[in-house]
């Protein structure tokens, strides 16, 4: 990407994100939130986070790999358990990276 395109992307992403944040705060007095949209938005965090996590684990090399050779999948499963049990970012990072490095060292 050219330097100009990169800058425009960063600025556009910032402005667009601000518009989403401002959306209903600004329009509340003359626009009610449609109930269907309200329901749809409730599922955004679960759907988005899963869409970001799962491909990173099951296809790290641009091919779906569910074998034990996929070290990121193995480390990810252990880290998912830690995330589930503790909800702690630092601990999940430490365990996930630690397991991945250990597996890479063994391999």
């Amino acid at each position: 990407m050219s330097e100009t395109a990169l800058w425009l992307t960063i600025l556009g992403a910032g402005f667009g994100t601000w518009l989403l944040r401002l959306s209903f705060i600004e329009t509340w007095q003359w626009l009610s939130v449609p109930p269907r949209l309200d329901r749809a938005l409730r599922y955004v965090p679960a759907a988005v986070m899963a869409a970001l996590v799962v491909p990173a684990l099951v296809r790290p090399e641009s091919v779906v790999d569910l074998s034990p050779d996929n070290l990121r999948l193995l480390a990810g499963i252990v880290a998912a358990l830690v995330a589930w049990l503790t909800r702690n970012v630092l601990l999940t990072l430490a365990v996930g990276m630690g397991v991945l490095w250990a597996l890479q060292g063994l391999g």
Binding site: G14, L20, Y43, A47, A50, S62, N88, G96
Partner: protein, 235 residues
């Protein structure tokens, strides 16, 4: 009655327990930006303007993959759609303010100060609504400073950390911690499973639209498996 200053301070205190979770995320955002080839200025402006970690990391991943700007913007907006939900929820509490307040308050809207502020506005009794925007401002400014500082640490480290440490793996690890509290019932689990599956299968789609396709499919699946209808949703 609490003074503005006291309410502002209470807002700061309310987000303090969350800072240890945000700081490593910010460091990763800074590190990844440098790893993706952004300049120091671009990395800091990214955190300064967008101020939303998950979308920043998704954006960096797509830049690394060579996606076109339109798709990157669409993905960032999809990842940040939840802010529209927070915006709708907070709107009634900000209507007495002018734009001079509303515009900057909107800019400071992130998961953490939404959670603490709406809790106070709705369940804090009459005291909870007094100077409510000062409470939100205290939390928002604290989170903003933490995010910018930790990004700067990551940017500095990014120039000095050796490659080959697989540090990009930290990104899905952070998302996992964000995913767990979102799985609050069966419909949300179905939304997540569908989102993950479709994003994986669609990862080979042209134009890098996998994340957007996964997110939209997950939202649709969650809505369809939601037992509540529009009529009885308030009961």
């Amino acid at each position: 009655m609490a003074t503005r200053r006291e309410v502002f301070g209470a807002g700061i205190t309310s987000v303090l327990p969350m800072l240890p979770g945000i700081a490593p995320f910010g460091v990763i955002a800074g590190l990844t930006a440098i790893g993706t080839g952004l300049s120091t200025t671009q990395a800091m402006v990214t955190s300064g303007l967008i101020f939303a970690g998950a979308s920043q990391l998704a954006m960096l991943q797509l830049i690394a993959d060579g996606a076109i700007p339109a798709v990157i913007l669409l993905t960032v907006m999809t990842v940040n759609l939840r802010f529209a939900m927070y915006s709708a929820s907070l709107a009634p509490h900000f209507q007495h303010l002018g734009r001079g307040w509303r515009f900057p308050l909107a800019y400071l809207l992130v998961d953490q100060n939404y959670a603490t502020s709406i809790q106070r506005f709705l369940h804090g009794g009459p005291d909870g609504r007094v100077h409510g925007h000062w409470f939100y401002l205290g939390g928002g400014v604290t989170l903003w400073l933490t995010w910018q500082t930790s990004t700067a640490v990551g940017v500095f480290m990014g120039a000095n950390v050796p490659s080959g440490l697989s540090l990009d793996f930290a990104i899905p690890l952070v998302f996992m911690v964000l995913l767990v509290p979102a799985l609050r019932d069966r419909a949300h689990v179905i939304a997540a499973v569908t989102g993950g599956l479709v994003a994986t299968l669609a990862a080979d789609m042209p134009l890098h639209l996998g994340i957007v396709a996964g997110a939209l499919s997950g939202i649709a699946a969650g809505m369809m498996s939601d037992p509540r209808t529009d009529q009885d949703r308030d009961s």
